[in-house]
C-alpha cells in the first residue's frame, strides 16, 4: 500500500509536469490529497507494524503524519488562491504543483522511514523539492536564497551522511550490517562511545539545516523570506517536523549507548544559542516573513532544549511541535492575504490594518499573540510544561535565561503586531486587493484547534501522544 502511494505520487507529479494545463494540475492535486488521506487512515489501522521492511507506522511518525495531511489540505487550498491571484504561466504552475506533490510524499517518507539510510534519502529528496519551490518567483533575491539553500543543505546532507557512515562503521564491529533503527538501538550499548558521540554530532549538524536549528539555521530564514506564502507555511512546519523526527529517531536509537548526557548537553547548547539568536534578530526584524522565520527559530530552539531535558518533558515537546505547526502555518497563510492587501511585507509600510479590514486584522493579531505563547494559546501550555520539566531536571539558570529571552521575543511580537494593527496612518497607505472571507475562515479553525488541543485535549489524543515517547 505504501509502495502504491509513492508510485501514485510519482505518476501524478509526472502527469502534471508533462501535461501543462491548469485544470489537470488542480485535479491531480485533489487526487493526491485523497491518496494522502487514505494512506493516513491505513497507517492508523496498521499502527505499530512494519511495511515493506523499511517503513514502520509508529506513534511519533503517525501523529506528525496526521498533521502533515491536515497541512497539505490547507497548503493546497491556499496554493489555489495564490496561483489564481498571481496568474503565472502554466509551466510554472505545473512545476509548482508537481513539486508540491513530491515534497509531501517525501516528507511522508521521512516520517515513516525505519532505516537510517532511507531516511537520509528522503531528506535529500525534500531538499531538492523545496529548492524548486523557493525559486518559484524567479527574481534575483529568490535566486540568492535558493542558491544558499541548496548549497548549504547539500553540505548539511553530506555531513549527515558522514554520520551515517560512522554509524555503519560502529555497528559493523559487531558483525551486524543492518542500519534500521531497532537494530541500532540493540547495537548501541556495545559500541565505542566516542564513535557514537561523533555520529550524533554529525547528524545534529547535518539535520540542523532541515530543522532550522543553530549551526546552519540561516538558510531557513532566507528561504522563508522569498518563498510563496503557502510554501513558506509548509516549510516552516512540516519540514521542521521532518527534521525533528529524523533527529529524534537518531537520538532515541543512540540513547541506548552511554552518551545521553553528552547528547543532552549538545542539544541544550544549540537550543539556547538558537533562542538567543532569534531574540536578537527579532527585535530588529523589518520584514513580516523574517519575523515569522525567526519565531520558528525560537520555537525549534525551545524544542531542542525540551528534548535535552528528557523524560516526561518529551510529551510537552511533541505537543509544542503540533501546536506550533498549526499556529505557524496559519500565520504564513495569512501573510499571503496581507501581501494581497498591502503589496508589501515590510512592517514599516503596513499600518492601520484594523481600519482597513477589521476581521483580518483581529485574526492577524491573534496569530501573532498565539505564537508568542500568550494564553489562551495552547503554546502557553506546552511552553509551561517545558519550563516545568527544566525546573525539575535542575536547569535553573537555563530556565531563567530562557524566560528573559522569551520576554524579548514577546515584546518584539506585540510591538510589531500592535504597530501594524492599530497605529494611526502617518501617510496614506495604499491597499490593493480585497480580502475575502474564504481566506480567513480556515485560519479561524486553526486557531480554535490550537486552543482546544492545548486546554481541553481529548483523552485519546493525550494517550496517543504519551505513547509517542516510546
Amino acid at each position: 500500500m505504501l509502495g502504491l502511494y509513492f508510485i501514485l505520487a510519482l505518476v501524478v507529479a509526472a502527469l502534471i509536469f508533462l501535461v501543462r494545463k491548469r485544470f489537470v494540475a488542480y485535479a491531480s492535486l485533489i487526487v493526491f490529497l485523497a491518496a494522502q488521506t487514505l494512506i493516513n487512515i491505513y497507517a492508523f489501522i496498521h499502527l505499530g507494524e512494519r511495511e515493506l521492511e523499511y517503513f514502520r507506522f509508529d506513534h511519533a511518525g503517525l501523529i506528525f503524519l496526521s498533521i502533515l495531511t491536515l497541512l497539505s489540505y490547507y497548503t493546497v487550498y491556499y496554493s489555489f488562491i495564490y496561483l489564481k491571484r498571481n496568474q503565472d504561466n502554466p509551466f510554472r504552475t505545473s512545476i509548482y504543483c508537481a513539486v508540491l506533490i513530491m515534497l509531501i510524499a517525501s516528507v511522508t517518507g521521512v516520517y515513516l522511514s525505519e532505516h537510517a539510510g532511507l531516511l537520509w534519502v528522503f531528506v535529500e529528496a525534500t531538499t531538492l523539492c523545496v529548492s524548486l519551490l523557493i525559486y518559484h518567483e524567479r527574481n534575483a533575491l529568490s535566486l540568492e536564497a535558493t542558491w544558499k539553500y541548496v548549497f548549504i543543505c547539500s553540505i548539511g546532507i553530506a555531513l549527515a551522511f558522514v554520520g551515517i557512515i560512522f554509524l555503519g562503521m560502529a555497528v559493523q564491529t559487531n558483525g551486524v550490517y543492518d542500519l534500521s533503527f531497532s537494530s541500532i538501538s540493540a547495537q548501541a550499548a556495545t559500541a565505542n562511545p566516542f564513535w557514537m558521540k561523533m555520529v550524533f554530532l554529525f547528524i545534529l549538524v547535518g539535520f540542523s539545516t532541515k530543522m532550522g536549528l543553530f549551526p546552519l539555521q540561516t538558510i531557513k530564514v532566507d528561504a522563508l523570506t522569498v518563498a510563496p506564502s503557502p510554501v513558506g507555511a509548509f516549510i516552516s512546519t512540516a519540514l521542521m517536523n521532518a527534521g525533528f523526527v529524523a533527529l529524534y529517531r537518531f537520538y532515541h536509537a543512540l540513547s541506548a549507548a552511554d552518551i545521553v548526557e553528552w547528547m543532552n548537553n549538545l542539544l541544550m547548547w544549540t537550543g539556547m544559542l538558537s533562542v538567543m539568536i532569534a531574540a536578537v534578530y527579532m527585535m530588529f526584524a523589518g520584514n513580516l516573513k523574517r519575523l515569522g522565520a525567526y519565531s520558528g527559530l525560537e520555537h525549534v530552539g525551545l524544542v531542542a532544549i525540551g528534548l535535552s531535558a528528557g523524560g516526561p518533558v518529551l510529551y510537552a515537546v511533541f505537543l509544542h511541535l503540533i501546536l506550533h505547526s498549526l499556529v505557524k502555518s496559519g500565520l504564513f497563510y495569512h501573510l499571503g492575504t496581507v501581501f494581497h492587501h498591502f503589496r508589501t511585507y515590510k512592517i514599516n509600510s503596513i499600518k492601520d490594518y484594523f481600519g482597513k479590514a477589521p476581521g483580518a486584522a483581529l485574526i492577524f493579531l491573534m496569530l501573532l499573540l498565539f505564537l508568542g505563547g500568550i494564553p489562551p494559546s495552547g503554546i502557553f501550555v506546552s511552553e509551561f510544561l517545558i519550563f516545568k520539566g527544566l525546573f525539575n531536571a535542575g536547569h535553573i539558570w537555563e530556565m531563567a535565561l530562557l524566560l528573559v529571552l522569551l520576554t524579548f521575543i514577546i515584546f518584539a511580537f506585540t510591538r510589531n503586531a500592535l504597530n501594524i494593527v492599530f497605529s494611526e496612518e502617518k501617510a496614506r497607505v495604499e491597499t490593493y486587493g480585497k480580502i475575502k472571507y474564504y481566506e480567513l475562515l480556515p485560519i479561524i479553525l486553526l486557531l480554535i484547534a490550537v486552543v482546544w488541543l492545548g486546554y481541553f485535549p481529548p483523552h485519546a489524543f493525550s494517550v496517543f501522544l504519551s505513547q509517542c515517547i516510546m
Binding site: 533575491l141 541548496v150 548549497f151
Partner: protein, 209 residues
C-alpha cells in the same frame, strides 16, 4: 600500493591549499578522481563484480571527467578570472591544512580502528575538513563548488571503508554526488552567471535584516 595512493591524495590536498589558479584546482580534482578510482579498485574486491563495475564507472566518469569538464566549461562561458580569491593567505592555508591532517590522525587514534582503516580515515577526514575550509575561505562561488567536491571525495573515501559489506551506502554517496552536481552546477551556476555580473559572494549578500 594503497598507501601510496592515499599519500598522493594528501599531497593534492596540500597543493589545493596553495593553488592560485582555478585551472590548477580543476586538475587536482581530476587527479583526486583518478586516485579514488584506484583506491576503490583495491578495496572493494569482495563485492559482486556488477556492483564493483558500477561504482568504478561512476567514480571515474563522474569525478575525473564530467565534473572537471563541466567546471572548465562554466569557467569559460562566464569568463571567470583565473585567480581564486581567498580571505586567508595561502601561507596560513598551508599551515591550517597540515594541521587538519594531524588533527585527523589524532582523532583516528581515539576510534580504535585497525591499521588499514586508520589510514583511510585520516585522509578522508582531512579531506572533509579541507573541503569545508576551502568553502569558508574563498570568495568566488565556483571555488565553493570545488570545495564541495573535495568534501564529497572525503565522504566517498569514508564510505569505502565499510563499502565491502554495505555497497548500498557507497551507491548512496555517489547518488548524492551526482544529485548535487547536476542540480547545483547545471541549473544554478548558469542562472547565477546570467543574473549577476561577477560570481562572487559579494553579490549574494542582499538578504539580510
Amino acid at each position: 600500493m594503497e598507501t601510496i595512493l592515499l599519500t598522493v591524495f594528501s599531497f593534492t590536498l596540500l597543493f589545493i591549499g596553495i593553488a592560485n589558479r582555478l585551472n590548477t584546482f580543476i586538475r587536482m580534482l581530476a587527479l583526486q578522481g583518478v586516485l579514488l578510482f584506484g583506491i576503490t579498485f583495491l578495496k572493494l574486491n569482495e563485492i559482486s563484480w556488477f556492483n564493483l563495475t558500477m561504482i568504478l564507472l561512476e567514480t571515474i566518469i563522474f569525478k575525473s571527467i564530467a565534473i572537471p569538464w563541466f567546471l572548465s566549461y562554466i569557467l569559460h562561458k562566464n569568463k571567470i578570472v583565473r585567480e581564486t580569491e581567498p580571505f586567508v593567505s595561502y601561507f596560513w592555508s598551508l599551515i591550517i591544512i597540515t594541521g587538519f591532517i594531524i588533527l585527523s590522525y589524532i582523532i583516528s587514534g581515539y576510534l580504535g580502528l585497525d591499521k588499514n582503516t586508520k589510514a583511510d580515515f585520516t585522509v578522508a577526514f582531512a579531506s572533509l575538513l579541507t573541503g569545508i575550509y576551502i568553502i569558508i575561505t574563498r570568495k568566488k562561488i565556483i571555488t565553493h563548488m570545488m570545495g564541495y567536491m573535495i568534501l564529497e571525495n572525503g565522504v566517498f573515501l569514508l564510505s569505502l571503508t565499510i563499502g565491502a559489506h554495505q555497497p548500498m551506502l557507497v551507491n548512496m554517496g555517489i547518488l548524492l554526488d551526482i544529485f548535487v552536481s547536476v542540480l547545483v552546477l547545471g541549473l544554478f551556476l548558469n542562472r547565477i552567471g546570467n543574473t549577476f555580473e561577477e560570481m562572487s559572494i559579494d553579490n549574494l549578500s542582499n538578504l539580510k535584516d
